[in-house]
Symmetry: C2
Subunit: 395 residues, 2 copies
């Protein structure tokens, strides 16, 4: 058993069942529109069968840490984040021209193949693209549907809503910055880290934790500085703090969070952990086993991804190492021999060892940030386990 399997497994199985149930209902809605929608419903169900459910796990423990009780309603609300994630992955694979996701052909490739097999009219590629856009849109919309049908009380949903809103704007804005950086050729470590902040840290860890806390009625004033960038509209810190929620359950281990220190602790935990998580993802993207990653070996190199690992490798590379990296980066025909060569070059720069050191340090920082935070002991322990599990080598 890997570390953290208890905390992860606890939520994962229930999230799986909640998603199955929701997608089964939607399947009924889609098939009422005709059997033609069956392939779409099946592709969505297949995609949602996989995934580590990290965002639901952070949302769930964000709720529990704020004193929220274990109940099916929070599982439903947390599981909704997995629909957003699946939709973003479908669109991401299309943008990256990725052929594989979770060990299966990516959605646009599934429909491209369907078109080609049946010798339909027009371009198979355009058909695959269109279907992936539409099914991704559906998944993104279903996030809200599952969230609002979670069964949580209206007050809780109203408190959580601005966090969900902010999380979505951040993730798509982060992807925009990523795409722009790749196009404009920003290869700096700082540029890569800015993308990590939006695309990974906030989206995967910090906002799911804040969402759980907001749903449970915690004061999010501690997250205020972070949200103060808004023009003072419904997204501003004041709106996010919402009503101070007289119904918030009691917490052990500290004051009842009226000073917003729980949200601040979640941020202090999320920032280093997000970077550690992304660094692990970067390493797996070059060195990972396809059986584990669900992607072909060396896929980040093939796709020319502008990762922090690569930025560090470039910054430390000898002329010879840089030449090898540049030769293969973004080469769609990258083969096993090329992967071996580029892996050796990257390892040779010391970037992998440096990333492993950074991961270890950031995970420790994340866990230390929970010390003395006003949260339940059970949640503190689960979040420490999650930090380790989410960044483990066997990911």
């Amino acid at each position: 058993m890997t570390p953290g399997s208890a905390a992860l497994g606890h939520v994962r199985d229930r999230v799986d069942r909640a998603l199955q149930s929701f997608v089964g209902q939607q399947r009924g809605v889609l098939l009422a529109g005709g059997d033609d929608l069956r392939p779409g419903a099946e592709s969505i169900a297949g995609l949602l069968a996989g995934g580590k459910r990290l965002r639901p796990a952070f949302c769930y423990w964000g709720w529990r840490g704020a004193g929220g009780p274990d109940c099916p309603e929070i599982i439903n609300a947390a599981a909704a984040l997995e629909l957003l994630h699946a939709g973003a992955l479908v669109h991401d694979d299309l943008m990256d021209a990725s052929a594989t996701r979770r060990g299966q052909p990516s959605l646009h490739r599934q429909f491209e193949a369907r078109h080609a097999d049946r010798r339909w009219h027009g371009s198979a590629g355009a058909f695959g693209m269109g279907m992936a856009i539409l099914l991704g849109d559906l998944l993104i919309c279903w996030t809200d549907e599952m969230f609002h049908a979670s069964g949580l009380p209206g007050d809780a949903l109203r408190r959580g809503r601005p966090v969900l809103d902010r999380m979505r704007t951040e993730v798509f804005a982060g992807q925009y910055l990523d795409l722009l950086g790749q196009a404009a050729g920003d290869e700096t470590v700082a540029g890569a880290l800015r993308v990590v902040e939006f695309k990974t840290t906030k989206y995967t860890i910090e906002r799911p934790l804040h969402l759980g806390a907001a749903l449970a009625g915690a004061d999010l004033a501690g997250a205020g500085a972070d949200l103060a960038g808004s023009a003072g509209g419904p997204l501003a810190a004041g709106a996010l703090a919402g009503s101070p929620a007289g119904g918030a359950p009691a917490r052990d281990g500290g004051p009842a969070g009226g000073d917003g220190s729980l949200a601040a602790a979640y941020t202090a935990y999320g920032l280093p952990l997000g970077i550690a998580f992304q660094l692990r993802d970067d390493i797996l993207g070059v060195f990972g086993d396809p059986a584990q990653t669900g992607k072909p070996a060396g896929d980040d190199v093939r796709e020319g991804k502008r990762t922090v690992l690569l930025a560090i490798a470039r910054s430390r590379a000898t002329a010879g190492q840089a030449q090898v990296i540049n030769r293969y980066l973004g080469d769609p025909l990258l083969d096993q021999a090329g992967i071996a060569e580029v892996r050796a070059a990257i390892t040779g720069t010391g970037a992998v060892a440096e990333c492993e050191r950074m991961i270890g340090r950031r995970v420790s920082e994340a866990i230390a940030a929970l010390d003395g935070a006003p949260m339940t002991g059970e949640a503190r322990e689960a979040l420490a386990e999650l930090a380790v599990a989410a960044t483990a080598r066997d990911g």
Copy 2:
């Protein structure tokens, strides 16, 4: 002044202002993430500056018809539909490879040009596609944000939520069916009408009306048969009807809608009007003036769109007329001479005159469906005006 300008203008100006205010706030959020997001924010603002605001108008009058008072909150909630529509248009233009929208380059073309001008890395087309996917996703997500921040009471939002959910599943499912039908070569009138039902009738007219009615507390049981296709989950008729809303305001002109007859009247109005609206759109897509449509002349022909107008034309065409239609349909190089030729062929089949007759008949049916419906007289008049305005030749 065109017919219906009072009913349309009444809502349109206020919807415009609500959208400007919301997009201004979001601009602040995006620019807090760095100035790099400015072009994205500006493209969105530019796109949202145009549009006839038909869906907000139907939502607003659906609310007023159910006895809801005139107030800024319903304008905000109704305006949220325009964000969904803008996001769907961005994705639609990408799928159709449309170069123009609302008289401006389509979003993917704007970013493609930006990439090419700056001689950035990689493919300008892929960059434009990625940006259009992400900005469309943002707009689709903002729908929920604006809806829930509208200021309407929580009870109203809870009643409206399932209608909004259903509307979104229907529109993306409808687009899926459209894309599939085009690929599989379904050129029947029946096939084209099924797409119209989902993509236009329900999405543009019926669901916005139902949403307004649900927000105002009307009983939606009359829409039950229509929604009974669901697997009985949170989307089923029972859930949609929601709480019978003791707060529903009084209506004149009939019983207080406890039998769901208001929702049924909206459906009876929406079904014929949706077809009339789509037929007008089909005619404008071939014969419309670019200054009016915001699209190049003959764009539906150039894009090979499988419209009802074309299905009727094909079903009535002589061999010679069919040859002309088939020669130009889907020809990306279609020029003025080709447009003139294909227009003459389509007109020669009698399909345009047939469509005009169908439009006139359906608009009359729509207006007649409001007779005796349990709604306010002011709303009945406004909806009659809207039916005429939405299907007028000068669109």
